[in-house]
Symmetry: C2
Subunit: 351 residues, 2 copies
């Protein structure tokens, strides 16, 4: 790996490393019989915020009404209605570890038979044998290796195909659901409601841009060109009849914290008027949105529901939320209390 | 300037350097009385390719019909109808030098009174006095300085505002028209025709992404989030009540040649099915498009019209076209002969 990038990659992987104490989650439940096509089942009821309690629902709807009514002092022309959302912890769950890490772990196991040399790496060997404690004992280097082995060295189209296959088949260790069934029903409704009112919805996430693009169109109705994320190196190789883009194990762009406004500028080119996040990784994105001229809306999903999801904020190793809670009043951000404000969490609860 | 980027920046500026022998263009004609809003005047007639002769027009329309008719073996679902276009020389003129360089030159002159220290730099001093030969004698370093002084060190929003002001007022040294009046009428019609048939139109240019975004929505109907281009460094600075993105004089991404397929992947995330270019800087974009699975269309604007525009190809210092002509048959690219295939070049000819 190019040494100039390895420190950035280490930074990117630092949060992933913090999962070790959380790895011992509940045993898998039986696989859900439902398919992975979540959106279709609820599409018709998604533009009325019906899964939201009245308090936050009215705040959102009042703001949208005032910014989309011509003649209103807060009116925003349709071309400027840019809404951005974090993904992990905002549009879908992120516990007990980022779902992208679950993909890396599953892929190492799946690909192991083709790579007998991986057994020479004690951490990978532990992972292949299902010894998570042994794998995590390898620390950051072990994680970095597992990510590099599963996120680079193949064509961009092959990677896309692998993620698509994984998301169809893999299941969450605690709920037994497919990962793309663990998206948040109220947020699906919010995306749909904003689009119905002329907003363009974008994802701006620290997660891998191509990991997300493989499934966000089906899950959220957000096409690949409206997904912004962290990016690996990429090389255009023209040695065959069909030239290809090859993924390289270097971190090219880290779309987190102060990187989020930068990523917004690079891939969107307009300052958003609406932002939704859940952790301090989203602080600068929310701040950049809320300090622009004119009407703005910021929203933080607060994980308060220990029964239906997971309760965590200031002390969490994933999705830590400190500054966002401290400064919510200053920037007029709506803190969404998942336990109190959402009638349902996941789409499958509606069935 | 960060040394690790200066070689990349030099690469980006190399083509700009080649302008020196072309700088002695004709004297400015009288400024056109028309306004800069080109699109509106012709919007109603833009979806029928009326400025195209029948030969190329029928090739384009036959392909669009076969790829948008359900049941056709070449049918492309609407979500995959991604069309990409180079800008300089493809959507607007690029002679006698890239219009972005004209912006840099004009800006140095405009800003000079605020920067008395610029007189200590012999190249900048020559430029300020209108001595282009003296400025160009400074070579690459002079160009690099002029670009850095005018493209970095300000907020992203201030830069956007400067470009918008410039494009409203500056005029081309040969035609006397505003630069955004020198867009190609037949290409405007093609963009509109493709959009009317469910295609998403993107710009993928070696030009600066934020230089283009300041005016492409008005000129082409292409919003900022559908513009891909070369990018400078960018830093999120939170030291005031209103945090800002500050432009930094480092080249972050060079969206040219093999960089174009990479830029497409980074900002679009889908392999295009239609690509238009005019120079060998577009070769890899066209190749990447044309070697994907299914129906594809590649188009090269060949600058053959020495009367209405400028005739140049294999020997040109700007927009050199060699490989594209050599391999057009191999990849089934349509070579558009501007002199023969286009009834008009610029929208103002219709008035």
């Amino acid at each position: 790996m190019n040494p100039q990038y390895s420190s950035k990659l280490s930074q990117f992987l630092f949060l992933l490393l913090a999962i070790s104490i959380l790895i011992s989650c509940g045993s898998p439940q039986e696989k859900s019989p439902t398919t992975s096509g979540n959106l279709e089942a609820t599409e018709n009821s998604q533009d009325n915020l019906s899964s939201w309690e009245d308090g936050p629902k009215n705040k959102i709807m009042d703001w949208v009404k005032s910014t989309t009514t011509e003649g209103s002092t807060e009116f925003i022309p349709e071309k400027d209605r840019i809404a951005v959302f974090d993904n992990d912890g905002t549009l879908w769950s992120e516990q007990p570890y980022y779902f992208q890490l679950a993909f890396a772990i599953d892929e190492v196991k799946r690909l192991a038979p083709e790579h007998p040399e991986w057994k020479n790496d004690s951490s990978l060997d532990a992972l292949i044998k299902g010894d998570m404690a042994g794998f995590m004992a390898g620390g950051e280097k072990a994680l970095l290796t597992a990510i590099a082995m599963t996120h680079a060295g193949m064509t961009a189209e092959e990677f896309d195909s692998r993620v698509k296959n994984w998301i169809k088949t893999a299941t969450h260790p605690k709920t037994g659901k497919h990962y793309n069934e663990m998206i948040f029903q109220p947020m699906l409704e919010l995306l749909q409601y904003l689009r119905a009112n002329g907003f363009k919805t974008f994802i701006v996430s620290g997660g891998g841009i191509d990991f997300m693009r493989a499934w966000t169109e089906e899950a959220y109705g957000i096409p690949p060109y409206q997904v912004v994320g962290s990016q690996f190196g990429l090389s255009y190789v023209d040695t065959t009849a069909s030239p290809e883009l090859i993924k390289i194990p270097e971190l090219f762009f880290n779309d987190d914290k102060a990187g989020k406004p930068v990523g917004i500028y690079r891939n969107i080119g307009k300052r958003p008027v609406f932002a939704g996040g859940n952790s301090d990784g989203d602080y600068q994105m929310l701040q950049y949105t809320s300090t622009g001229d004119g009407a703005r809306f910021g929203l933080i999903v607060h994980h308060t529901d220990s029964v239906r999801e997971v309760a965590y904020d200031r002390e969490s190793h994933i999705g830590q939320l400190n500054k966002g809670l401290d400064d919510a009043a200053k920037y007029n951000w709506l803190i969404v209390d998942m336990a109190k404000d959402w009638k349902v969490i996941y789409p499958y609860e509606l069935k």
